[in-house]
Amino acid sequence: MEFNPTRTSDFLENPFFVKWVKHPNRHTDRYWESWNTKNPEKQAIFLEAIQIAKGLQPKESNQLSADQYQLGLDRIIAANNSIDKDQERSKKQRKSQRRFLTLGGSIAASIVLMGMAMVIWVGSHKESNDPVLVEIPMVVKTAPKGVKKSILLPDSSRVILNSGSEITYPAVFGDQRVVHLKGQAFFDVERDTLHPFIVKSGEIQTSVLGTSFDVKAYDELEVFHVAVVTGKVNVRTDDGIETNITPTEASFYHKSSKSLSKQHYDYEALIGWKDKILKFNRATYHEVFRELSIWYDVHVVIPEGMILKGDFTGRFENQSLENVLKGMEYTTKMHFEIKEREVIVSLP
């Protein structure tokens, strides 16, 4: 039968439509998309309603702290095991009381006990085939120097992994989507308010429900950053310092002082890497060379005794190492020579 609404409420009396808004799948998607193109006059309200339906969420999602959660779970698991011991103890007590029973009685009792043991053995044997006991393997992905990688996570979130970085995550996510990052990556997270997405990197962790953001956390760096492109992000240090950041804001973690700061950021300088843009804003030469060596997989050789003073500002889009170095030669007094995998720096 053709669905031909004349009033808005006709949509609402159509359970198929309501079900699609709440739980769409690709078949119903196709149906309603084609319905929509055939009924262009209803399109505006159609889109509005769907947007609202998807955007309205419970305001708070209070979570136990990682410590509380672990402590709570440990106690419960401990209780689960100590109760078993208690039951064994009371079994032993019962057994000792039976010592005073007649021989016939004790034979009967031991048969009963054997039967119990069998039941327990069969029970525990059965349990080992339980689907719950499947161990979820961890997946490790690395992008070596000179290479960037695009990765699709089990929840369909996308990650672009920068050169010289490593990401670890379970093959299937549990209640929390936890990934571990060494280095730098850009995350585009599928929205799922019930399963927070958490990036653990060094001493900071970043929690989101569904947004896109960049995390830079190379072990050797003094300053890490988390920069938000869309949505809301929570950054928290191991010491419990935390801050919420929103689009155009970035949070910087200073390792030596273990402090977090927050400010607006330059998109290209922090996230340009994923669009092949290499941008430096008054960066020290040490930073510049570190960046180049990871980006192009080269080793920068600075002759002993050479002091690199000042800073460098420049922007390169999709350039070869030669061009980047040529550009740097223009604005600095330095000279560069490329020898296989080495860049040798000299002053004229």
């Binding site: 309603a49 609202i52 109760i83 078993d84 990688k149 089990p154």
Partner: protein
């Protein structure tokens, strides 16, 4: 092996294209709540840990909507799980695990709050601003004529409802529980009481949106009442 550095650049450009290097991991079937429950009753630590990870934070969030005492909200999560562990052989078969957990959590929390209030005489103990909703602004798109203000209006009228009506909305729409389950959790004697309260909440919101046909339509889509 010598490889010109320029070639390396081409490799980089190639590798950043998002279609390259796709890794799709196979999904392992997750056990249902009832499967977990059966294993928990048999004493499985793994199943217990899975059940805890599925519900500890949800129950905690539920509790913190009712009370300001976060430690109490956490303690009651522990109590609910400890009860299951200690009584596991004595627990009968349960139809909805989620419902059982929410109902026993809420009952115990309210009982403890009542007891504590006698001792503390603290008015702020009971929250009246829990179960609020929020319009996520990242869902704002320029493709529709709806402005943020209009969306915020829907958020506001929902948050203006009495707290009990907001709780019904949270349980029914966001936790996707049935009328019967909502009635059990909120300690109502009849299933129809839950249904009535929910209809009242929707009617209140509709009243607040009087004359705004489009938003009423959106309201029904956000909170569909048919089964």
């Amino acid at each position: 092996m010598y490889k010109p550095v320029t070639n390396k650049c081409v490799v980089i450009n190639h590798d950043t294209s998002p279609v390259n290097e796709f890794e799709v991991t196979p999904r392992v079937e997750e056990p249902t709540d009832n499967q977990l429950w059966e294993s928990v009753l048999k004493g499985s630590d793994e199943a217990l840990a899975s059940l805890y990870s599925r519900y500890a934070n949800k129950l905690y969030n539920y509790g913190t909507q009712i009370t300001l005492d976060k430690d109490l909200a956490f303690d009651v999560v522990q109590d609910v799980f400890m009860y299951i562990v200690s009584k596991k052989l004595g627990l009968k078969k349960i139809e909805s695990i989620k419902n059982y957990l929410y109902a026993s959590y809420r009952r115990r929390l309210l009982r403890l709050m009542k007891r504590n209030r006698k001792i503390q005489l603290n008015d702020e103990y009971h929250r009246s601003d829990g179960f609020m909703v929020e319009m996520d602004e990242s869902f704002y798109s320029l493709s529709t004529p709806l402005t943020i203000d209009v969306k915020k209006m829907l958020e506001k009228i929902c948050n203006d409802l009495p707290v009990r009506q907001r709780e019904v909305i949270t349980l029914y729409f966001f936790e996707e529980l049935s009328y019967q389950e909502v009635a059990e959790i909120m300690d109502m004697s009849h299933v129809r009481s839950a249904r009535n309260l929910l209809y009242k909440a929707i009617a209140n919101m509709q009243k607040a949106l009087k004359g705004k046909e489009d938003l009423i339509f959106a309201l029904y889509l956000v909170f569909p009442l048919h089964q």
